[in-house]
């Protein structure tokens, strides 16, 4: 409503001066009041406008808070996962520490053996290197064990073979000397050899005993993989015994017998040819 239009003077036809004056005073006051009201209304309008803005901001803040509230459970759950991760990290750290302690304890003894560690090696590489060295050492140990077992076996065979070859030489010498000679016991003859013949008989019997024992031990060593050689040696040693101590052996009337001498020599040669195969030693 426009107050100025309502108090227009032209609308009042006749009034005395006092009334006019009071009326003017009244109008003036009303006008002042109107002005004040107007000013206050303007002020209220301003306040209302500001209030609206503030309300809007407040509303936006409330909305923001509401939205944050909605996200809160999600954040909370995320917070829980973070705690789990933290726990896992702790457990992992403990496990690493335990491994480290174990490794340090075990490697103390190995450090004494492993005198050189490559520069710039890391823990894992050192562990890998030590493990590799241990496996290699074990492999070398097993290889050496098998190798030297075989070497010992071969050398044992060669040892008995060489002994048998030596004994064969002694035996052949005694046996051929005996069988090629005639026993001359008649004291009326100058070249009596009864003592020499008796000595050869004793040597043949005793040498044969040692020879047979060593050959039987040798045959026991080779019998598994070379049974044919073993059987042949035992057959030949039997034949050698029958031949060299049979017939007129230890007889007073023994004559020279080149045939038996030759057969003994041939038997000894056959035995030697078998034994020579086994006589090579490994150093």
């Amino acid at each position: 409503m426009d107050v100025n239009n309502e108090i227009n003077s032209s609308s009042i036809p006749t009034l005395d001066k006092s009334f006019e004056h009071s009326t003017l005073e009244y109008l003036k006051e009303n006008q002042e009041i109107a002005t004040d009201v107007k000013a206050e209304l303007s002020s209220i309008k301003q306040i209302l406008s500001e209030s609206i803005i503030q309300n809007r901001e407040t509303f936006e803040e409330i909305e923001t808070i509401s939205k944050l509230n909605e996200d809160l459970p999600e954040h909370t759950s995320q917070l829980s996962n973070l705690e789990n991760i933290s726990d896992n990290i702790d457990a992992l750290s403990n496990a690493v520490n335990l491994l480290k302690t174990t490794f340090e304890n075990q490697s103390n003894s190995l450090i004494n053996v492993a005198t050189t560690i490559p520069d710039g090696s890391y823990g894992l590489e050192i562990t890998s290197g030590i493990s590799g060295a241990l496996v290699a050492a074990l492999a070398v140990f097993i290889f050496n064990l098998i190798y030297f077992k075989n070497v010992n076996k071969v050398n044992k065979e060669a040892h008995y073979s060489n002994i048998a070859l030596k004994l064969l030489e002694f035996f052949e010498s005694s046996a051929t000397s005996y069988w090629i000679s005639e026993r001359i016991k008649d004291k009326r003859k100058k070249d009596t050899n009864n003592k020499e013949m008796k000595l050869l008989e004793i040597k043949i019997k005793s040498d044969f005993l040692v020879l047979r024992t060593s050959l039987e031990k040798f045959c026991n060593l080779i019998s598994i993989k070379n049974s044919s050689d073993s059987k042949q040696i035992l057959a030949l040693i039997d034949e050698l015994y029958d031949l060299s101590t049979g017939g007129e052996f230890e007889s007073d009337s023994k004559v020279s017998n080149p045939k038996i001498t030759s057969e003994i020599s041939k038997l000894v040669s056959r035995l030697k040819s078998i034994l020579i195969k086994y006589s090579q030693q490994i150093n």
């Binding site: 047979r212 015994y241 052996f249 230890e250 007889s251 007073d252």
Partner: protein, 138 residues
């Protein structure tokens, strides 16, 4: 059961085939020890390693193989009653050879002709071995 010790009771050096080869021959052992004892039809154990260094095959063939060769006993009978005893494993060889000679001998394949008289006449056999131990086996 009594045991016959060759090395202690017969000779510590049993050697030779015939009487003519001297005392302690295979023929003497067969004729004067083995044959009488085996005739008793009792089990006989002979120790072959005590006090003996070894044997020549001439002695063993004549002593043991001769029992069959001259028709005194069959090999089955000898195998049944004769037992060879030894402690030294080296003498296993001689035991095996004795069994071989008994097995290989052909029964009654040769007429026996003693060489004892010739040996005595030639002074080669002196009869120095005392065989009174045989009485203990009867």
């Amino acid at each position: 059961m009594k045991i016959l010790y060759i090395g202690k009771q017969f000779s510590d050096d049993p050697a030779g085939r015939y009487y003519t080869d001297g005392d302690g021959s295979g023929e003497e052992f067969r004729e004067e020890v083995l044959r009488p004892l085996l005739k008793l039809n009792k089990p006989l154990t002979i120790n072959i390693d005590e006090n003996v260094e070894g044997y020549g095959s001439s002695f063993l063939v004549e002593a043991f193989g001769g029992l069959i060769k001259h028709g005194y006993f069959e090999s089955d009978y000898i195998n049944r009653v004769l037992n060879l005893d030894f402690n030294d494993s080296d003498f296993e060889f001689y035991a095996r050879k004795i069994k071989q000679y008994i097995k290989e001998a052909i029964y009654n394949s040769e007429q026996y002709e003693s060489t004892k008289e010739t040996a005595i006449n030639e002074g080669k056999f002196k009869g120095s071995i005392d065989k009174s131990f045989l009485e203990d086996f009867k």
